[in-house]
């Protein structure tokens, strides 16, 4: 900081705390939603929520959700949407399962699945961006198409992978250490790297610039199409990791793998505080959104309510979060 501007700006420089609050208002708002939700759970079922098993069961499902929600924040920020990630997830997991079933080392299967996931992401992105299609409709179509390509040859049959248990890959990525599922650690590493990618890396900065004002970004020499396609490739990577992790934890691949994640993941992005209009967003908030959504599903049943309440509370939390973010998100034009 130069000495010249120091006295000049000193009077208005917000305190670091205030700056932090303002800069992270969306994710902090999401955190507030989470805290309130947990307090309610505690009030209704203190016996369950003060003991570890409930958190353990959330932690088992959470990693997959995190691998999906984080890249989706990038896609929404760049001004697109992706509804095809469930099929991409199922497809790459299928590649992983086939490789392991055929006797390959699971690491090889993982690499294959990741390459296929990123390749599918590239394909979906290229169709949307270079053919100029609406991502809402085109990715919906791709989701059906890819799921169909899984269903036709497998005829809906699942693949069981009991042998995974003894492999190094399983121990590294899917075992639990002292009752704590290790997948969570990998998912957290993924989230933290992505936070830096989003806020402090050329890629994230360009994703935001393109989502904010694509014409300006192009005039400043940014290859906007490439940036948009890259977010879909990143989504493919996340979907592949989600597929691999979910297959590992279940020792089974199902042809419907990924399907159940479509709506909760979308909800998590917006519950997390990323607005729909592009240009801004929050990865940390999205991750927290995923935690919230996971907790609703597990918490309500564990709290003694019947599963029939899950959808109602899911919807309630989504609407309340959106209302909360409504005054939190200022849209500049």
């Amino acid at each position: 900081m130069s000495s010249l501007s120091q006295p000049h700006n000193a009077s208005i420089k917000p305190s670091p705390w205030r700056k932090f609050l303002l800069g992270n208002r969306a994710s902090l708002g999401t955190l507030a939603v989470f805290v309130v939700m947990m307090l309610i759970f505690f009030a209704f079922a203190p016996g369950i929520f003060s003991r570890w098993p409930i958190y353990n069961s959330v932690l088992l499902t959470l990693p997959v959700a995190l691998f999906l929600v984080v890249p989706l924040v990038f896609i929404v920020t760049v001004g697109e949407i992706d509804l095809s990630f469930p099929a991409t997830m199922g497809f790459s997991a299928w590649i992983f399962a086939l490789a392991v079933q055929a006797g390959f080392n699971p690491f090889i299967g993982m690499i294959g699945a990741i390459l296929v996931g990123m390749g599918l992401g590239f394909g979906v992105g290229a169709i949307v961006v270079y053919a100029g299609l609406s991502s809402l409709v085109a990715t919906l179509g791709m989701n059906f198409l890819l799921r169909g390509l899984i269903m036709i040859p497998t005829e809906g049959k699942s693949i069981s992978l009991l042998g995974l248990n003894d492999t190094l890959a399983y121990k590294l990525f899917s075992s639990s250490v002292g009752g704590f599922p290790i997948q969570v650690v990998w998912a957290l590493i993924f989230v933290i790297i992505s936070i830096f990618l989003y806020n402090r890396h050329r890629f994230g900065v360009r994703v935001r610039a393109v989502g904010d004002n694509p014409d300006s970004a192009a005039q400043m020499g940014i290859d906007t199409k490439r940036v948009r396609v890259a977010t879909f490739v990143f989504m493919g990577l996340g979907a592949a990791l989600a597929g691999i992790f979910s297959t590992m934890i279940n020792f089974t691949w199902w042809p419907s793998s990924g399907d159940a994640y479509l709506l909760p993941t979308l909800a998590a992005v917006f519950v997390g505080g990323t607005p729909t209009w592009g240009g801004v967003g929050t990865v940390a908030g999205g991750a927290m959104g995923a935690v919230i959504v996971s907790f609703i599903q597990t918490g309500i049943v564990a709290g003694g309510l019947s599963g029939f309440y899950v959808q109602f509370f899911n919807g309630l939390i989504i609407i309340l979060s959106l209302l909360g973010h409504r005054w939190n998100q200022i849209r500049y034009r």
Binding site: N9, R208, Q219
Partner: protein, 270 residues
């Protein structure tokens, strides 16, 4: 006369069957300030968007320092040392001042991660250099919170960042107060003194006459006049000429001057 920095040859741009630019040739030399004039819709902005690479011409060639550059694009234009302040400012308003200044050419360290401290201090230096400093904003302020003049400052700071050889300003003073306008002019003079070139578009012909030394008048996508300050003599002459092309029934006020120039050139050739 300085080195020929950039030259357009027979540039055309059509939208449907309307020619926004219908065969324009012009050049800007090193260190000169050129004023681009013309009525609303004359094609000025389209022409500078072509120079900036943002719009692809339907026809014509672009030469940089005497060499034709194929595949002209925004990145090529920036690489050639051309920076543009667009009429609409081209800012991403939800991002910070720093992010806008370094849009498309982030300062990074290893593996593409941003050098945040360096970007911030560079941004502060640029804002100070052009005199667009304020008590109420810092480099981390969101552009959407700034006034029109302040946004203009951000766009100009962005344009001077990489020491461009040619800075194009498309109506930079429109909607600015007198003091802010004066800042822009001071900035133009500073740039000229540093030996760089400027292509300045403006509707206030008195202003443009003050700061430019050569003028190009566009009329419905074509060059109607290209004249130096010495030849034009006064802003009134230019204004009269522009009225003449808008309502061409009277005599051309510059006719005598142009005839004299033509005779002079013929004499020089003989």
């Amino acid at each position: 006369m300085g080195e020929r920095l950039i030259e357009l040859r027979d540039i055309k741009k059509s939208y449907g069957n309307v020619f926004a630019v219908g065969g324009v040739s012009l050049h800007v030399d090193r260190g000169e300030v050129v004023g681009l004039l013309g009525d609303n819709g004359a094609g000025k902005s389209t022409l500078i968007k072509i120079l900036a690479g943002a719009v692809r011409p339907s026809h014509g060639q672009i030469f940089v320092r005497g060499k034709e550059v194929p595949g002209w694009s925004p990145a090529r234009s920036r690489d050639a040392g051309i920076e543009t302040v667009f009429q609409d400012r081209a800012l991403a308003v939800q991002q910070t001042i720093v992010r806008n200044i370094f849009m498309g050419r982030e300062i990074t360290t290893a593996m593409g991660f941003l050098d945040v401290a360096k970007e911030r201090s560079e941004a502060e230096r640029l804002m100070r250099e052009i005199g667009f400093t304020s008590k109420v904003f810092s480099p981390d302020s969101i552009v959407g919170q700034l006034s029109g003049g302040e946004r203009q400052g951000v766009a100009i700071a962005r344009a001077i960042y990489n020491k461009a050889d040619l800075i194009i300003l498309d109506e930079p003073t429109t909607a600015l107060s007198l003091t802010e306008t004066e800042k822009v002019f001071r900035f133009v003079r500073t740039v000229r003194e540093s030996g760089r070139s400027i292509l300045f578009i403006g509707h206030n012909i008195h202003h443009v006459f003050d700061i430019a030394e050569r003028f190009i008048v566009l009329d419905r996508g074509r060059v109607a006049l290209e004249i130096t300050k010495d030849e034009a003599k006064s802003a009134e002459n230019l204004i009269a000429f522009m009225e003449h092309i808008a309502h061409p029934n009277g005599p051309n006020p510059l006719e005598a001057i142009l005839a004299e120039r033509a005779a002079h050139r013929q004499g020089a050739q003989a």
